[in-house]
């Protein structure tokens, strides 16, 4: 393999564990003398192949994602990629991976605080096993979804306070981490509201020490609108305060991930490049991408 371009730089993923390449469905084995099946698979196949030997034919064991979370990620996808699935060029974010985790277990309790109104406390356990070693954390967010489809007469503004503390972890060597912040919240009638609360400074040390089970206690209070008529508003909010999801914005430095800044640097270095054959020709079965014959004839005449 050593004489082949790039083979020694392939991440462990491409020389997947024996179980993966041997259990690959024959459909995926390349025809002819393909030799090392998994090493020649395109990136997406390798990534998916890496996830488990029974992925192709049998129903791979899989938990259904939370519907709200799925809605949010589809919205993020539409904002980040074109209809054909190509990352939008006008985006200058540094992340190339976003992971959303819903809590594996949660214990909610609510108590009344005379000054701050209802305090929503929830203990959340997130399992971050899916984060790979080459995915580096840029930002982490607790994603709250407020659904005001409940009867709320008018738009509401208020201030909320959130505090996050590592749950059940205390050691005299390193004190348990905590993080708190206040933020304002504005609701419109009949509009779903996503609120992203940045907890990067809280989570960064935990991820840096390769902690994969994050157990946190979150306290959440909101004082909304006019205190005299608070009951109606508060009911609207209390009813819909769903435990948050955890959103991680990551930079995947592996070979198969797209590195936006490389593409930009490449364009700067080669503004004028030799013309290459790039006009897609319609193959008999294809329905789109028709060859533009005028383009073809014009370029030939120029030559």
């Amino acid at each position: 393999l050593q004489h082949r371009a790039g083979s020694e730089r392939l991440p462990g993923l491409l020389v997947a564990p024996g179980a993966v390449s041997s259990a690959l469905n024959p459909v995926l084995q390349l025809p002819g003398g393909a030799g090392h099946g998994s090493a020649l698979l395109p990136p997406l196949l390798k990534v998916l192949a890496e996830r488990g030997p029974r992925r192709w034919d049998g129903e791979a064991p899989r938990l259904r994602p939370d519907a709200r979370a799925l809605r949010y990620m589809k919205r993020l996808y539409r904002m980040s990629a074109t209809k054909e699935g190509i990352p939008k060029a006008n985006k200058s974010h540094l992340y190339n991976t976003v992971r959303l985790f819903t809590p594996c277990s949660e214990h909610k309790h609510r108590h009344r605080d005379v000054v701050r109104g209802d305090v929503h406390s929830v203990d959340l356990l997130f399992n971050l096993d899916r984060v790979t070693a080459l995915e580096h954390l840029l930002k982490s967010v607790l994603l709250y979804s407020f659904d005001t489809s409940a009867p709320v007469s008018s738009s509401i503004t208020g201030t909320c306070h959130l505090s996050v503390k590592e749950h059940g972890f205390s050691s005299h060597v390193c004190p348990s981490l905590s993080h708190s912040l206040a933020f304002s919240l504005h609701f419109q009638v009949r509009k779903r509201k996503w609120v992203e609360i940045d907890v990067t400074s809280f989570l960064q040390p935990l991820i840096a020490t390769k902690r994969r089970n994050i157990h946190m206690a979150v306290n959440f209070t909101c004082l909304l609108g006019d205190p005299q008529h608070n009951t109606e508003l508060e009911n609207a909010i209390n009813m819909v305060l769903v435990p948050p999801s955890l959103l991680l914005y990551l930079n995947d430095t592996s070979e198969q991930a797209y590195h936006r800044w490389n593409a930009l640097r490449h364009r700067w270095k080669n503004p004028a490049r030799p013309r290459q054959r790039n006009s897609p020709r319609l193959n008999p079965a294809g329905d789109t991408g028709k060859e533009n014959s005028q383009g073809q004839r014009a370029s030939r005449q120029r030559r």
Binding site: L48, P87, V98, Q256
Partner: protein, 130 residues
């Protein structure tokens, strides 16, 4: 003129078309469109978006003198010469992708979490002879 009078009523011969056969091979190395949907592969159970994907592919003959037109390195012409003059077992240059564009994919992980990831080199956009 006498011969032409009896000639069949075909349009006057287009010389540039005639000479084209000597300059550019018919089945020239070019990018071809190919469109697949993940449901065909039964991957739509965990690939949420995109539903369809056009990887494209390169196909066609590499003419003897490639050079600037295909963005090919000098080595390609040397390999062609070796194939023609010295050792036919050395393969002719092939029509292969030269540039790609990335693809954004939204998938469900086995633990039910959701991941958006941008993958490199997923769609061929240019072909070359190498």
């Amino acid at each position: 003129d006498e011969n032409l009078k009896e000639a069949p009523a075909t349009p006057p011969y287009n010389l540039s078309e005639y000479f084209k056969q000597f300059l550019f091979p018919q089945n020239e190395c070019e990018l071809h469109n190919f469109r697949l949907s993940f449901s065909q592969l039964k991957w739509d159970r965990w690939i949420i978006a995109p539903h369809r994907y056009s990887p494209q592919y390169c196909k066609g003959d590499c003419p003897r003198v490639v050079g600037h037109r295909y963005g090919s390195p000098v080595h390609t012409m040397v390999q062609n010469l070796i194939y023609e003059r010295l050792d036919p077992s050395v393969p002719k240059p092939s029509c292969v992708p030269a540039e790609y564009s990335p693809l954004s994919v939204l998938t469900i992980e086995p633990d039910g979490s959701i991941v958006y990831k941008e993958y490199e080199d997923m769609i061929a956009t240019k072909c070359t002879c190498r």
